[in-house]
């Protein structure tokens, strides 16, 4: 286990470097002159424009730019934003907080909804409970998060006026209120997949021979389901939950946009629009790191859940 963790953490470094390099090169192929976009609509002489290019090293060939970027990266410096006069590190860390809150609350919400619902569906197979859960899942799986988001805004903000529709709040309870709707929209779309998965994993586990042994021992129905079946059903659930957590980090882009939340997602979207290369590159590295860490956690959880898995 310790070996797994160490090797994974070590491979993380080249992996993140490759991802960041690919993004770096891809950005150079995106049409549009960053210098012009930085200036915006102001009138400017060609000479001044050239000064800006020199300042940001945009006048150099791509490979030379890459060389400088690698050198800075090795020192942990993600560069400075073209547009916002600040370090990329600082900008990202500022925004990461809101996004992390959003991701974690959506994820927890999704689990709290989907696992009990999936278990109940499995136990009450082909009853109205199961059918309702299936319909719920289908709706969720087929509605994009921004659509769900808008419906939630219309209902809870516009009609009922219970919760704010925009922004990330000023901390504490205010943040909770602001993040409730976006978390619900994201959590709902995830919950659908996990509900279906939990249902099928539980049906599978409940049909195993060891369930009969557990019942023959005189254990309560609750122990049989929650201990003997659920522990075995958790393996596929953890796999998908891990993938979902990674996808959530990306998924927040849409939801932050819909709800006007200043998180990492909206930072990236804005940066792409204005060709603010350093921010896009830096954010990609952060997201890659989160993906890799989540995968590592999933692998560790496998071994914790299933003793047959040893690294």
């Amino acid at each position: 286990m310790a070996r797994l963790i160490i090797t994974r953490l070590l491979t993380m470094i080249p992996l993140m470097f490759i991802v960041a390099s690919v993004v770096f090169l891809m950005l150079r192929f995106v049409p549009g002159d960053p210098a012009r976009i930085i200036v915006g609509n102001q009138r400017i002489t060609e000479e001044n424009l050239q000064n800006i290019r020199v300042q940001y090293r945009l006048d150099k060939p791509v490979l030379v730019q890459y060389g400088y970027w690698v050198k800075d990266l090795a020192q942990g410096d993600l560069g400075r934003s073209f547009r916002q006069r600040a370090d990329v590190n600082t900008l990202i860390l500022e925004r990461l907080n809101v996004t992390a809150q959003l991701v974690i609350s959506s994820f927890l919400l999704s689990m709290i909804i989907s696992i009990p619902l999936g278990i109940i569906s499995a136990l009450r197979r082909n009853t109205w409970v199961d059918f309702s859960a299936t319909i719920f899942s289908l709706i969720g799986a087929s509605s994009p998060v921004y659509f769900t988001g808008i419906i939630l805004i219309l209902l809870f903000s516009y009609k009922l006026n219970w919760l704010p529709a925009l922004g990330e709040g000023d901390g504490g309870w205010d943040t909770v209120k602001h993040l409730a709707l976006p978390s619900l929209a994201l959590g709902f779309s995830l919950a659908c997949v996990t509900t279906r998965l939990t249902r099928s994993a539980m049906i599978e586990a409940l049909s195993q021979d060891y369930i009969e042994t557990a019942r023959s021992k005189g254990l309560s129905a609750r122990t049989v389901v929650m201990k003997h079946a659920f522990r075995n059903a958790m393996i596929p659930i953890v796999t998908v939950a891990g993938l979902q957590f990674g996808a959530l980090v990306v998924g927040t882009v849409l939801i932050e946009y819909t709800f006007g939340i200043g998180g990492l997602g909206s930072l990236i979207v804005q940066a792409v629009q204005v060709r603010d290369y350093p921010i896009v590159q830096g954010a990609t590295i952060f997201i890659a790191a989160i993906f890799i860490l989540v995968n590592l956690i999933v692998d560790i959880l496998y071994a914790v859940i299933d003793p047959r898995i040893r690294y």
Binding site: D209, T213, S216, K217, G218, L219, H228, N232, I305, P307
Partner: protein, 339 residues
């Protein structure tokens, strides 16, 4: 001497709902087990022997299953009338079960010890520590070496024989009065089979329990049982104590089962498989259920279901010609499939 039987099954009916209608997996079964006795329940796959066993534990999944009739009296109480809670405390307490394949019947994600200890905690209200100590004690009783270490072994780390010993220790943990063993040796190596049977016999002496031994192996029956019931297509077709069954089977099916055992003592001449397959329970023959495969069948066998005929006070068979079917001219060969 009139003692109440430990277990008395009366006219048990278990049916399963299928697309083609209700199928009677167990159709009017009567069985009696006295305290300390071992009853062998013999039959082919699908004959209803495992369903009968699970019905005693009330482990038949309902739906699609349904206890359609009859009574299962355990020490005089009808198990089919008990509440779920009462049944739960009986399961693993006074009646317990050992299953066929100790690999799939043990939960792969819990240690062997935990799976036994939880049964002890459930029935005896023992603390974690007490349950652990009792489990290790039980492991020693069933002959698991290094019992203390094996407590925290996972099923996949144990051999088949050890796993079955774990299952047995689990079943015995609350000193049951009745142990149901559903083909307890089928999934094991031949050498281990003998050890496990030995262990069961030894434990029966020590614990004084009754055993319902389900098997398709008549050799195991001869070795282990006081009495035997032969099941075919959901019914008991013959019931007797051991010697009469082996010496003078009263039902052609039992006779066929005995002839189907390859043996060195009868010069191999008598080795003759029973042709065909058991009938589809959804489309049973009109007369005797075994008639389509029976070498001795007569006209009546194909039209009228046979009654239960007593050939001696403790020996009965469900055959029109019970006890003297061999008088009938055997048909030389019977066309294979029946369904």
């Amino acid at each position: 001497m009139t003692t109440t039987p430990l277990l008395q099954i009366e006219n048990l009916q278990v049916e399963f709902a299928t697309r083609g209608g209700a199928v009677h997996a167990v159709d009017g079964v009567n069985l009696t087990i006295e305290p300390g006795q071992t009853l062998g329940l013999v039959g082919e796959s699908g004959s209803g022997k495992s369903v009968t066993a699970r019905a005693i534990m009330r482990l038949v999944p309902t739906p699609p299953g349904r206890y359609a009739g009859g009574r299962i009296l355990f020490e005089g109480k009808d198990l089919l009338g008990l509440s779920d809670g009462e049944m739960q405390s009986l399961r693993g307490g006074q009646i317990s079960m050992v299953f066929q394949d100790p690999m799939t019947f043990l939960n792969p994600v819990f240690t062997a010890g935990e799976q036994v200890a939880e049964a002890i905690r459930a029935h005896q209200g023992a603390s974690k520590g007490e349950a652990r100590a009792k489990t290790i004690e039980l492991f020693r009783t069933v002959g698991i070496p290094n019992a203390e270490e094996r407590f925290s072994a996972y099923p996949h780390e144990l051999s088949g024989g050890l796993r079955q010993r774990v299952m047995i220790s689990m079943a015995l943990s609350s000193r049951p009065k009745l142990l149901i063993a559903d083909e307890p040796t089928t999934a094991l190596d031949v050498t281990i089979q003998a050890q496990i049977l030995d262990l069961l016999r030894h434990l029966q002496d020590e614990f004084g329990m009754s055993i319902l031994l389900i098997t398709h192996d008549l050799g195991v029956v001869a070795e282990m049982c006081d009495k035997v019931a032969v099941m075919y297509a959901g019914q008991i077709v013959e019931e007797a104590s051991i010697e009469p069954i082996f010496d003078a089977p009263a039902h052609p099916y039992t006779s066929g089962l005995l002839e189907a055992i390859p043996s060195t003592s009868n010069d191999g001449a008598q080795f003759r498989p029973i042709p065909g397959a058991p009938p589809d329970l959804a489309r049973l023959p009109q007369g005797c259920r075994f008639a389509p495969r029976c070498r001795y069948r007569q006209a009546i066998c194909q039209t009228t279901p046979p009654p239960r005929v007593a050939v001696s006070p403790a020996h009965s068979a469900r055959c029109h010609f019970a006890g003297d079917f061999k008088k009938n001219e055997p048909e030389p060969a019977i066309a294979g499939r029946t369904s």
